[in-house]
């Protein structure tokens, strides 16, 4: 080990410890401002799940950019890993029928759970990002257990890519519509309905389902490309 490395380790340890000390000593000193009660009154957008009403209504603007961050990630993975096709046939010498069976059994419930999380995100925990990712996890499970080929045969990347872009366009158009009624941009135009029922909270469930669709398609594509390029680092 060179002296400069020792110096770096020492300096790094000191700096990290200093950082931790400064934060631990000053976070939480002084009282918390603002009122939580006000939060609860304000978030009555008709969605029982207040987090959903913040993410998809009050701060929808953030969520749109966040969705684009996800899209940019998918685009990057796609563009930089699409170049070559990976090996077509896998002969893995460790293969168990139990795992295969388990994957077949687990896939439908995972997809249903993902769909449930997305559709009922305004009533119970879940939401578009979680739902889409859970459903994609189901697909990922199958790709591990059955080998990538079975899934690769069903995988039509151009179609998925098109679907993702169309979902984004639809989302943005819904977000821009209120301007035509001279309401504020990104306002929730549909009636809030009866809180707690499926058809409530106006546009929140619509956004939730669209986001889940987008995240599902994007996560599937990402997983597909990483499966094809496995073991490269």
């Amino acid at each position: 080990m060179r002296p400069i490395d020792r110096l770096r380790i020492a300096a790094g340890a000191l700096a990290s410890a200093g950082f931790a000390a400064v934060l631990l000593l000053s976070i939480g000193r002084g009282e918390a401002g603002g009122e939580t009660a006000e939060v609860i009154r304000l978030t009555a957008t008709g969605a029982a799940n207040r987090v959903a009403s913040i993410v998809l209504d009050i701060r929808l603007y953030d969520t749109l950019f966040e969705l684009f961050a996800f899209s940019v990630a998918v685009l990057g993975v796609r563009r930089f890993l699409r170049r070559t096709a990976g090996p077509a046939v896998e002969e893995s010498l460790v293969e168990s029928h139990v795992v295969r069976r388990a994957a077949y059994v687990l896939l439908p419930p995972m997809l249903v759970l993902g769909a449930y999380l997305a559709c009922f995100g305004h009533l119970s925990p879940g939401g578009g990002f979680g739902g889409g990712a859970v459903a994609a996890t189901g697909v990922l499970l199958v790709s591990v257990a059955l080998g990538a080929d079975l899934l690769a045969q069903r995988f039509r990347d151009e179609r998925l890519e098109r679907l993702e872009a169309v979902v984004l366009v639809v989302l943005l158009i819904i977000a821009l519509i209120p301007a035509a009624w001279s309401r504020p941009l990104l306002a929730n135009l549909l009636p809030p309905g009866q809180p707690g029922s499926l058809l409530s909270a106006g546009t929140i469930p619509i956004y939730s389902v669209l986001i889940a669709l987008k995240v599902f398609a994007g996560a599937w594509a990402v997983v597909h490309f990483f499966v094809r390029h496995r073991g490269e680092v």
């Binding site: 950082f19 029982a48 996800f70 809180p195 707690g196 490269e232």
Partner: protein, 125 residues
């Protein structure tokens, strides 16, 4: 101060140290993932934001419910963390394809050599 805040700060410091000390890019990326994970934990565990019940109710929310705003914030942070980690990994894969190493210092040296060769060509001209 809650246990979550203390954990978050410690996790941040440990991961930052790993970012400084570890030379292997895979370790660096894992450390970066943990840095971002610790900010999520910090936001959700703020003394004012924590509660024993989820902020979900058809009617009025019980006063013991957690503050929903930090939760909404961190959802974005989690998705962004995924995007960063996936994209970083893609570039690491492409660098490995060319240089067959994930050692940050070796990569730095190899790429600097190439650049200096190009510079020397310019000096001659």
């Amino acid at each position: 101060m809650t246990a979550g805040v203390v954990t978050a700060v410690l996790l941040f410091a440990i991961a930052a140290l790993a970012l400084i000390v570890r030379r292997d890019l895979v370790f660096k990326l894992v450390a970066l993932g943990l840095v971002n994970g610790s900010t999520v934990l910090l936001l959700v565990s703020l003394p004012r934001g924590i509660g024993s019940r989820p902020p979900i109710a058809a009617g009025a929310i019980p006063p013991t419910a957690a503050d929903p705003f930090p939760q909404a914030y961190v959802l974005a942070a989690i998705v962004i963390n995924f995007a960063v980690l996936a994209l970083a990994l893609v570039f690491v894969m492409m660098l490995v394809e060319r240089y067959h190493t994930t050692d940050a210092r070796r990569l730095e040296a190899l790429i600097r050599e190439e650049r200096e060769a190009a510079d020397a060509e310019g000096e001659d001209a």
